[in-house]
Every structure is written in C-alpha cells, then in structure tokens.
C-alpha cells in the first residue's frame, strides 16, 4: 500500500474517531451532575429571569441533539464556543495556554528519550554494578507517580534550595524553560524508568540473537555491533513505547501543571472541570483525543522506517 493511500485512509479513520469521540465527550458533559448556571451564580438563589438569561445565552435549554449539532457545527468552523468561566473565546484561551503545555511536554519528552535510552543502553551493555544501580533507581522512578514527584521536587529544589521557582510559567523562552524545568522532571521521572527498562530488555533480547555473534565473528568492533545491530534492532520496541510515552505525558501534564500552577492546557482542564465550564472541557478533551491519534499515526508511519519487515496498511494475506 502506498504511503499516500495509507495516510489518506488513516486520516479518514481519524475523522471518524474524532466524530465518535466528540459525541462521547459532549454526552458525558451533558450527563454530568451540576450545570454551569448554578456555578456562575455560585449558590446564590437567582431570579428565574437571571437563570433564564444565562440558559439562553449558552443555549442550555435546547434539546441535547440540537446542542450537540450546534457545537460540532461550530467546531467545524474552528469555533470552540465561549468559555463560561473566563467569558472569552475558548480558542483564545487554548492559543494562550497551548505553548506552555507543548513546551513542558516537549522538555519532558527530551528528558525521557535521552535519559531513558542512555540508562537502558548502559544497563544492557555494561551489566554488573551499573546495571544493578540502574535497575534499583528505575524501580524507584517507576514507583513514583508524577504528582508525588512534583511535590518532592518542589519541596527540595524550589522551597529548600531555591534553585527553581515553585510555580508559574514565566515570560519569554528562557524564563519559561527555567520555570518548566522542575515540572518537566516531575513529568519525566516515571517515564524515564519505563523507557530505560524497555530499552534494556529489548537490547538484551537482541544481544542473544545469532546475527550479533555473526557480526562479531566478522571483526565488527563491540561498540559498532551494539550501535548498528543491538540498539538498531531494539528501536522498533522503543518506538512503540514512544507512542505510549507521549500519550502518558499528555495525561500526566494535567496533574503536574496543577501542582506547579503552570498556565497550560492541563491546568485549564482541571480548573474548567471544577467550574463546569462545558465548552472549555469539551474543547480540551477533543484536542487531547486528536493529539493521541496524531501520535499513534506518527508512530505507525515511522515503523516501516525502523523495521523494513513492517508494511503499511492491513496485513497481507500469505505474501
């Protein structure tokens, strides 16, 4: 199957999935207890007129199907509606907050890939004490959820040592990177442990294969055997894990952003959920679904580059 046909098919599938997801998201918000009007009035008893005005403004009295169709129709025009809490366009809110989240996730991803691969490589190749140390420390990393890591890092490096700010996002790239370092480490810790373990196991499996012995028997130096054959062949597994890692980063960023008051999408999701800000929650959920699918698509498209035995498209019958 050609690359273009595959990509086109996958895009169509993604559109269908997004459509399904939009229904589930909208339905879930519709069924959830509480409504924005009561939150806006924050418990005060309002006159029926005031309630009516709010409901009319946000079309909260319309039938479900009508509300859903209006919402999807708007989204197709690039309009995510108006935030009830912030009283601005949701797309404005997202545009303001997306860069911090992307930077945070990006920094965490760099940390995860660099350290995860390095530790996995050392563990598999060196063995001995280095391997044991890595096994123990990755076990700790795997046992530390990101919100616990966030509190610990904050306490040590921000409060006690004062090397990093306790929270906030900062302005300008340099400031932002400085502010986001601790959150990125908190976000990355667990995943570094996971990627190190996966890389180590994949490399050990390849190390036991005969073609590695054969490469050595042909005079290829140990270092090059590791790089050209062992690590190279472990990359497929690493790539698959990579998709999972990005997805996990997107989920955990909600917790970490809240812990460090990073003004990103994750914190916005948490805030808007507690304030029943339907349009914002819906928009962020839909964007998350879109990001997950994009990550999976990228992983699938990269796979044939990493492993020539993988072909795009459905499994061929008895090739």
């Amino acid at each position: 199957m050609s690359f273009l046909r595959f990509a086109a098919r996958r895009l169509a599938e993604m559109a269908a999935t997004l459509f399904g997801a939009s229904f589930v998201i909208f339905g879930a918000m519709y069924l959830a207890p509480g409504n924005p009007a009561s939150f806006l009035l924050s418990g005060r008893s309002a006159s029926p007129e005031a309630l009516k005005a709010i409901n009319a403004q946000y079309h909260l009295d319309d039938p479900f199907v009508l509300q859903y169709l209006r919402w999807t129709g708007q989204i197709l025009h690039g309009d995510f509606g108006r935030s009830i809490t912030y009283r601005t366009d949701v797309s404005r809110l997202l545009a303001d907050r997306l860069p911090s989240t992307l930077l945070l996730v990006g920094m965490a991803l760099v940390l995860v890939v660099a350290l995860g691969l390095l530790l996995g490589w050392i563990g598999a190749v060196r063995g001995g004490a280095a391997d044991s140390t890595i096994l123990v420390s990755t076990t700790f990393a795997l046992g530390t959820p990101s919100f616990v890591a966030a509190v610990l890092l904050q306490g040590l490096f921000a409060v006690k040592l004062g090397w990093f700010p306790t929270g906030g996002t900062g302005d300008g790239l340099g400031q932002m990177i400085w502010h986001l370092t601790l959150p990125a480490v908190a976000l990355a810790l667990y995943l570094i442990g996971m990627l190190a373990r996966v890389t180590r196991a994949a490399m050990l499996e390849v190390l036991g294969q005969e073609h590695v012995t054969v490469a050595r028997s042909r005079g290829v130096s140990d270092h090059k055997v590791i790089r050209r054959h062992v690590f190279r062949n472990a990359l497929g597994t690493v790539l698959t894990t990579g998709g999972l890692i990005v997805s996990t980063l997107l989920v955990c960023t909600v917790l970490v952003e809240s812990a460090f008051s990073v003004g990103g999408i994750g914190q916005l999701l948490e805030l808007s959920t507690t304030t029943k800000d339907f349009p914002t929650v819906q928009a962020i959920s839909l964007i998350m679904v879109g990001l997950f699918m994009t990550v999976n698509l990228v992983v699938d498209l990269l796979h044939p580059l990493v492993d020539p035995r993988v072909t795009l498209g459905p499994r061929r019958s008895a090739a």
């Binding site: 073609h211 490469a215 042909r218 005079g219 130096s221 190279r232």
Partner: protein, 325 residues
Amino acid sequence: MTTLDIQAYRLSLPDTARPVLAGVDLTVGARETVALVGESGSGKSLTSRSVLGLLPAGARTEGTVRVNGEDVLTMAPEQLRRLRTSSAAMIFQDPRAAINPLRRIGDFLTESVRLNAGAAPAAATARAAEMLEAVGLTAAALRQYPGELSGGMLQRVMIAAALMGDPALILADEPTTALDVTTQAEVVALLGDLRTRFGTGLLFVTHDLGLAAAISDRVYVMYAGRIAETGPAEALFDRPRHPYTAALLNSTPRLEAPAGRLAAIEGRPPSLQEELVGCPFAPRCPLATFLCSQQAPALLPVAGEPARRVACHHSDRTGEGSVHA
C-alpha cells in the same frame, strides 16, 4: 605454512567436570578441504568458533590455535578483528538467523571491510557485487532486505560475505543443515567451486558423513571433545579404524542397503559433568576392554597408513567385523 594449525588445544568451561575440548590436534592446509564430523555436543562447533576467537564466557584455554602462523588465543582485540576481517571467515548454520533482518544485504556484505579494513564505500560495494555474482546472485540483491530472499539465497549471501575479505580460511559450521536438500547440494557444489577459484582452505563442520565424504580431502572424527580418528576421506570411510567411526557409518541410512532398522549406537555421549578416565567411547564400544576404561588412548599413526591416525587401543581389531552389524 599450514593455514590452520591447532595443537593440543584444550578448552574448559566453568562448572564442568571435564574439559569440553581435551587436546585437539587439527590442521588445514592451503586450498585443502577438511571435514570435522561428530554428533551434537562433541565440540566440533566450539573448535571451529575457537579459530575466530569466539569463545564462550568464562572459557579457559591451553594449547595453540594458529591461523597463518599466528596464535589466535593470545591475540589482542585489534589483531583478532583483523583476523576476522581478512584472514578467516565463518559461514553459519542458519542464514536467516545469522543476518540482521533490519539491514540491507549490501550493508551486511560490506560492513566488515568498511568498518575495519577502511575500504571506501564505493570500492566495498563493487567488491560485494562481484562476490554476489561469484555465488550466483546478482548485484540487485545489494538493495534487498534478508526477508526478501530465500534461505538458499541467504546462505549464498553468507558465503559471499565470508569471501569479502579474501580470507585464507573459511570455516563452515553445518552450512547446509538448515537448508532443504536441493539447496544443500547447490551450496556444497558452490563451496567446492569457490575453493578452486579463490584458493581458500575450508574447514567443514558437519554431522553428515555422506556430505563429509563427498566434499573433503581429509576428515577428522570428533568424540567428546577429542579427535577419535583422522585420515584421507576415502580411506577413512572405506576402512574405519575407530569403533566410533565404524558405528557412525553403520548408523547412516543408505539407499543400496536392505530396508530395516538402522543400527543406532547404544548409550549416549558422556555429559560434561562426568569425569573421563579412560577412552570416552568405552561405555558404548563393543570392543572395549579393561584397558579402555583405565587409560585414554593417544592419537597414533596407523601402521602402514602414515596419513591416518586413530585414538583406539584396539584399532587393529576394528575392521574384523565385530562392529559391523
């Protein structure tokens, strides 16, 4: 100078009661094809791998393994790499497992000469194309992945890879076992052909006596890490002097023989956890006497046949029919 000269080679592994190889003497001359036969576990693969310095972890060695006069066992890593690149090369049993499935054939062929001999990529690729043609493939295979070739074609690629560094010695470790019968014949014919064309010595490790007889000038029969018998292929298979060789020949199916059960050799080879006092084959040998259980026989020349040597106290009685069923 002998291409391969193994003298009194012993190899011990941790946690075993006896050495895996207990004094192996073996030579391969220039342009000579030598077969090393024996059952699984007899140490024949270990012997051939030792020639490239591929030793199992924790192995302790004694004796010498010389390739072109240089002792492999004492080589520095750098020398060992040079040996593997340009003096000796090995063809492995299962080409599908021996070639990295994620790299192109061209990369596999040129890897060793590019990385070690510092060959320019273009020159290496040209040489690879030439070698592919020598083994009956085309240069088109350079761009292909191992998964796109058949087992027989991959074994040809393996042979081409072995020829890349123009080695003086090729070690073939059961190179046809994983292939189907027609492909086996092609690969064997190819190996014979290449020997005359490139003038390499060939050590052919196999458990297939018929194959050994067909391809080799001389044969070594190995049992429990020792050479049981050696000599010119024809004489050795016509008149085996070691009861083990005779029994092996008896257990080989033949087309012309009357149908019936094959003569299996009773018992099994000694495990590595058993210490061997006398002849390792004594417990299974129909000729064994008290002497055999007490004293290991030395590998001695056969009277009247100077090219042959046998390690048996009763080699003079082997031909008497007591072994032949």
